[in-house]
């Protein structure tokens, strides 16, 4: 066996790659850094509406992924420096921090990040080889594993949540295991309409904090999509009398979406993400939602809430455009985007979890190889109908 191996080693052509020699305009590291930069406005915006917990989540993810990437590089005898500076895990960490609940206990965040990096990315061969989007797969992992935590540690969007969810307060909850209920009540109280609602519900002053919030949670779920799902389950034409999204929450969702869109448009201008894919995604999402809402108003939300609530905008600009996990052909990418949008609308209406973006993205990722095969381009000189070359 030893002799065979030496021969194989000699055939490794001394580091010279075979043709074709292609020149990339941007290195992978540059692309990843620019993408992280483009995520930054959305990240800061969300941090303003959801508190400092986001930053802690990002730091936990970052440390975990650095450790994991380093360990994998050592195990694989790869260059440690290059593995730790390629920046792809930076994007994964930012996406995870933006999708995970801001007050998730640190050990769950760490396990999520480790799962995303080790099992979803590195087990398939590392950067560029993964089938599934690491951030979304990690999110689903923790979502299915500990759905109780996902809802009890979620912060509703409220203007200026950063002033209530200060670094110190969120640190206590995330690392020391303090009860998140009080902090959640404080953040909820920042939203005037929710404050009135809580006060009405408990029949007492809203300042009695935790009890008011816990009772309010019994009727209004952690996220607005959760409320929508609950209303749909109650049936009797429920989407007509949905729990209305408060004005403050609308502002929060809309401005986050705008901030994300700003980053996404910057990426489009730099030709890092594919414009037609993003356009196809949003057009398909709106069309499917409008059509569905027209046909089954009880089941499917109107287009605008579909777009703003949950992670639809984030997915459109930053997740489905991941060059590794989407389809490989031009037509295929459009089909991929449309398929993902379709799944988002359908799973939101029929799924058992409140938001569907992560599930849709993973299903679309799984379908990407098939899409590639179905949209394969005709080789030159082959396949003419009635021609002699076929």
């Amino acid at each position: 066996m030893n002799i065979k191996l030496t021969e194989q080693a000699q055939k490794q052509n001394l580091g010279i790659e075979a043709a074709p020699f292609l020149h990339a305009r941007l290195s992978t590291r540059a692309i990843m850094l620019i993408t992280s930069g483009a995520l930054l406005p959305g990240f800061l915006c969300l941090a303003w509406f959801q508190g400092f917990g986001l930053v802690w989540q990002f730091l936990i993810c970052l440390v975990t992924s650095l450790v994991c990437e380093g360990a994998v590089a050592l195990l694989r005898h790869r260059n440690l420096g290059r593995a730790l500076t390629d920046g792809s895990f930076l994007v994964t960490c930012m996406l995870l921090a933006m999708t995970l609940p801001p007050l998730l206990p640190w050990y769950l965040t760490a396990v999520t990040a480790a799962f995303a990096i080790l099992l979803v990315k590195e087990a398939f061969g590392g950067l560029g080889m993964n089938i599934f989007n690491p951030a979304m797969a990690g999110f689903i992992f923790v979502f299915i594993s500990c759905s109780g935590f996902m809802f009890s540690t979620w912060l509703s969007h409220a203007p200026g949540a950063l002033t209530a969810a200060t670094p110190q307060a969120t640190y206590e909850v995330i690392f020391k295991g303090a009860d998140p209920l009080l902090l959640r009540a404080q953040v909820r109280a920042l939203d005037p309409q929710l404050k009135d609602y809580d006060a009405q519900r408990s029949g007492t002053d809203a300042r009695s904090g935790a009890t008011a919030a816990s009772e309010a949670d019994a009727v209004s779920g952690a996220t607005w999509l959760e409320n929508v799902k609950a209303a749909r389950k109650q049936g009797d034409g429920a989407l007509g009398r949905l729990p209305e999204v408060t004005d403050a929450a609308v502002t929060a969702y809309a401005s986050t979406a705008l901030a994300l869109a700003a980053g996404g448009i910057a990426l489009m201008c730099l030709h890092i993400i594919i414009i037609r894919m993003v356009l196809a995604y949003f057009a398909a999402l709106l069309i499917f939602a409008a059509l569905g809402h027209y046909l089954w108003p009880d089941l499917i939300m109107a287009p605008l809430p579909q777009l703003l609530l949950g992670g639809a905008v984030l997915a459109g600009f930053f997740i489905i455009t991941d060059p590794v996990t989407n389809a490989g052909t031009s037509k295929g990418r459009i089909a991929f985007a449309v398929f993902a949008a379709f799944l988002i609308v359908v799973i939101r209406a029929c799924g058992s979890y409140s938001d569907s973006v992560a599930f849709s993205v993973l299903l679309a990722n799984a379908a990407a190889p098939l899409i590639d095969v179905l949209t394969r381009r005709r080789a030159f000189g082959h396949g003419y109908r009635g021609g002699e070359l076929d």
Binding site: N79, Y107, V111, S145
Partner: protein, 241 residues
Amino acid sequence: MNTHFSEAEGAAVPAKKPSLLRTFTRGLWSNNPGLCQLLGLCPLLAVSGNAVSALGLGLATLFVVCLSSVIISLLRSLILREVRIPLYIVLIATLVTVLRFYVEAFYPDLYDSLGIYLSLIVTNCIIMGRAEAVAGRENVLRSFLDSAGCGLGFALVLFCLGSVREIAGSGTWMTGAGALLGDWAAPFETVLYSHDYTYLIAVLPPGGFFVLALFIALKNAFSIHRRNRIENRFRIDSVRD
């Protein structure tokens, strides 16, 4: 990979039978049905949600594979080659039916928790594979040792898989051992940590695939460790990425 090479080389060099010990240990490690042959995956993934039912199914499979191998090996001169598969199936199905009645009578809780997978041992490829590959050709001792190794290897993998999934998914180990396996097993029931730290996904179907994949990776890492070390010595620094 390793086993493919060794089998191919074994085919080229004629007729040197492995030793009896090797016949036994092959099924435990180098040709393990759960980790290497990847046979019997359906029960392996479906029943391994907790350690006790995994152990129950593992023992049942071990029993059936050993007994069927011995019987087939005894009858091998009487079995016509053309109809051997139906005959094997009849034999195995008989054994499984006997076992099923036994479990139903004496361990009703285990019977409930295994459900249809107990009857499905009939179609388990491990048993058919052993009958076809070894028991129909070799003498009784050799086929018994071979099938005992395979069955034991399968039961061990099943038990480890069940343990890991149960510990990660519900924070306990061997729950229901007393009820399912009899009073002797009751002291093994342990609660390791609270539900706050468990990962439900481990006991759900995807968890079975994750844990099995990790087991296979670990096994491969062990068995090709030496080869990897040699390979890495020949790597060229400039091609490292």
